[in-house]
């Protein structure tokens, strides 16, 4: 049975390799046939494994591929428990749905086969990451998802902006990976193993003195990969990639790798108060900044990108509050509704002939009713309207934060604000695209092809029902993760009336946000009542430019480093080193030039020299004969 883990990981890799090797002989139909069938098989095996795991009460399955290094022993191993099981099913399932969508979206692209090659390679990397049995294998997956994400972001590398966005994502991710790598070294140094189970067992008995530092370095990795403040600015730029790839990588799976990793290391994390506070602090900051930024974006995908960052912030809040189940729960529901929103956006972009400005859309609900309805479901879900998926998970996060008490009441209030903003900008997004009276003539627009709407409907259904896997009445996901979080102190939901009040409040925040969006963008309440909001333009500007974080980064890091390095280049390199080298050669050139004047080319002069030196020789001989003796 355990060899099937290998099959799950290897299947997408083999598909990618096959597509690579045979790409010359494959047309679109053949590519579809191969990749969809492989994905179907992958989903089948994943569900089989998950079913087996379920029947075995989520007892972890280990699979050791080969021993890599004898001492300290490092084994290339896989580990399947409830946590990686959930991720595995999620990844392979979503990749199937999104590949179905892609067959239509990417149709007639020159690099059609290449797209699926990269796509499958990404799925392989992600599965390697989640199914890894030790930190080193996880690091491999971690780096490979970075690589495949880079390949897919700059998929249309002929466009300068796409190539640049790919570089930006890669470089910002490297900052995080650097931290992760240092964390790994410290772990190996202390525990002398990379194996999850061994490390977590030993950490329960005795915590290393530098545990805080280890976790903080791992955290840096998570911040980079999961686009948390201040390393988030690569994610909006990553929208240069094909939309379905964005849906899978930059919304549903890869960006949640940081969340997954932190839940994986939760047995260590629970001992570090500092790390928990850092996580919740940065999570909140990210959630608020990204939500604020999303309010004034014009690009249909950028709104969703900032919304993703904001939702990832929510997951970090949950981890910081110790609500690991809630974090994974939100990860799962978010994966579905965000994939739905992205694919919906993809359908809209496809039908709008690659127009992405939401102000140039409007009234599309009549032209594209299915897409509109499905994106509506996604919007309601992310806003936290019951009984859709987002409500259950977000409410669980908010309630868990609240139940910690103390300073966490403040965190809860800020999270609620972020939730309200989420509803507001998502309402604006949907209303501007589908409801607002269009400015342009959009007569020629019609519903997306069936290959696009079907995945949308499928995801829509999931978005409605996936929330029921873990409600206050049915702790499904909690049971799945029970074995994984066996020795971890998990924050639980408050009971009874408190929970109900909190739920009402969060629903209220969602509805208020949506209603406000309607009032402002459709009813146009501001010009109707001639309201004057102070500093409105400044606030809009701040939101549009994402509180100028890119500019600050540009000035501090790019320009600062550039001027410093230029100065170093001038003073050290050009002046000192080149000066010494050129000076020496110049000195010899000059002196030899002067010496060369003695070479007149006239034989007579040479004779004179000759005679002169003979005379000198004779003189020496006369003065002291013993010199020549």
């Amino acid at each position: 049975m355990d060899i099937l883990i290998l099959a799950v990981v290897a299947l997408p890799l083999l598909t990618a390799l096959f597509l690579k090797v045979a790409s010359k002989f494959l047309n679109e139909l053949l590519t579809n046939f191969i990749t969809i069938n492989a994905a179907l098989l992958s989903v089948g095996v994943s569900f089989l494994m998950f079913g087996y795991l379920f029947l075995d009460k989520f007892k972890p399955i280990k699979f050791e591929l080969f021993e890599w290094y004898p001492s300290p022993q490092i084994i290339f191993e896989f580990y399947l428990d409830g946590l990686s099981g959930v991720m595995m099913v999620l990844i392979s399932g979503l990749s199937l749905v999104i590949q179905l969508f892609s067959t239509s979206y990417m149709s007639k692209d020159e690099k059609y086969t290449k797209y699926f090659e990269y796509f499958n390679f990404f799925v392989f990397s992600m599965l390697l990451l989640v199914l890894s049995g030790n930190f080193l294998v996880m690091f491999f997956g971690w780096e490979l998802v970075g690589l495949s994400s880079y390949l897919l972001i700059s998929f249309w590398y002929e466009k300068n902006s796409a190539a640049k966005a790919g570089n930006k994502a890669f470089i910002l991710n490297r900052i995080g990976d650097f931290g992760f790598l240092i964390g790994l070294m410290m772990i190996l140094n202390y525990f002398e193993t990379f194996n999850f189970v061994d490390i977590f067992d030993s950490v329960l008995i005795k915590q290393p003195s530098n545990l805080d530092l280890i976790i903080l370095f791992l955290l840096l990795g998570a911040f980079g990969k999961s686009a948390q403040f201040p390393l988030f600015s690569w994610l909006p730029d990553a929208m240069e990639g094909p939309t379905p790839a964005s849906a899978l990588i930059h919304a549903a799976t890869m960006v949640t790798a940081g969340v997954f990793m932190l839940v994986r290391v939760s047995p260590m994390l629970q001992f570090s108060e500092l790390a928990s506070l850092t996580i919740i602090g940065f999570g909140l900051l990210t959630a608020l900044i990204a939500a604020f930024a999303a309010i004034n974006q014009d690009d249909i995908k950028k709104v969703l990108a900032y919304s993703t960052i904001s939702q990832l912030g929510f997951m970090f809040i949950a981890i910081g509050a110790g609500a690991y189940v809630a974090a994974i729960f939100h990860l799962v529901t978010h994966a579905f509704f965000k994939a739905l929103l992205f694919l919906g956006a993809g359908a809209v972009i496809h039908e709008m002939h690659h127009e992405q400005n939401i102000h140039k859309m409007g009234g599309l609900r009549k032209k594209m009713p299915i897409t509109a309805a499905m994106m509506g479901i996604g919007t309601l879900a992310i806003s936290g309207i019951p009984p859709l998926a987002g409500f259950w998970s977000k409410d669980e996060i908010l309630a868990s934060v609240f139940s910690k008490g103390g300073i966490y009441y403040g965190f809860w209030a800020l999270s609620l604000l972020a939730a309200f903003m989420t509803a507001f900008y998502m309402g604006r997004h949907w209303l501007l695209i589908f409801v607002k009276e269009p400015k342009n003539n959009l007569e020629s627009i019609h519903e997306a092809p069936k290959n696009m709407t079907r995945p949308l409907i499928l995801l829509g259904i999931f978005t409605i029902f996936i929330g029921f896997i873990n409600t206050p009445f049915f702790h499904g996901l909690e049971k799945v993760l029970e074995e994984t979080l066996h020795h971890v102190e998990v924050t639980h939901l408050p009971k009874g009336l408190t929970l109900a009040v909190l739920a009402v409040l969060s629903i209220g925040a969602g509805f208020t946000g949506l209603a406000l969006a309607y009032l402002i963008y459709i009813f146009d309440i501001i010009s109707y009542f001639k309201l004057k909001i102070p500093f409105i333009n400044e606030i809009k500007n701040l939101s549009k430019n994402v509180i100028f974080i890119n500019d600050v980064g540009n000035i501090v890091f790019v320009k600062g480093l550039k001027s410093v390095s230029r100065r170093v280049a001038v003073t050290v390199d050009a002046m000192t080193i080149d000066g010494i080298v050129n000076g020496i050669s110049k000195y010899f050139l000059k002196s030899s030039k002067q010496l060369s004047y003695t070479q007149t080319g006239l034989v007579r002069n040479y004779v004179v020299y000759f005679g002169l030196f003979t005379l000198i020789l004779v003189l020496i001989f006369l003065i002291s004969p013993e010199v020549l003796a």
Binding site: Q599, G601, R604, V607
Partner: protein
């Protein structure tokens, strides 16, 4: 008894020095390659004279042996030197060496 002037080694050495100086001055001030060549010969022979004088004065055969070597070298030098002079003359219709200053620094 006729008072004979005794020709001592000094006389020979003085002659040799005079000959050498003439040759050297000729080298310094003449431009014609052929004349310069003759000056070299003159200097060589001045040296030869010194060798022989020394040989006679000291009663040793070594100096005369050295003279033979010098003669051989001079003969070889004549062959090469004359060939060079002929080619110089062919090139510029004159044997002046001042025109051959392409090696000037």
């Amino acid at each position: 008894m006729n008072r004979m002037i005794e020709v001592t080694s000094d006389w020979y050495l003085t002659l040799s020095a005079i000959l050498f100086s003439i040759g050297f001055l000729g080298m310094m001030f003449r431009k014609n390659a052929l004349i310069m060549f003759m000056c070299i010969e003159l200097m060589l022979n001045a040296v030869n004279l010194t060798f022989i004088t020394a040989s006679k004065h000291l009663g040793l055969i070594d100096g005369q042996i050295a003279v033979f070597f010098v003669l051989v070298v001079a003969a070889a030098e004549v062959v090469v030197g004359l060939a060079i002079i002929v080619s110089i003359f062919k090139k510029q219709e004159s044997a002046s060496v001042d025109m051959l200053s392409s090696a000037k620094g």
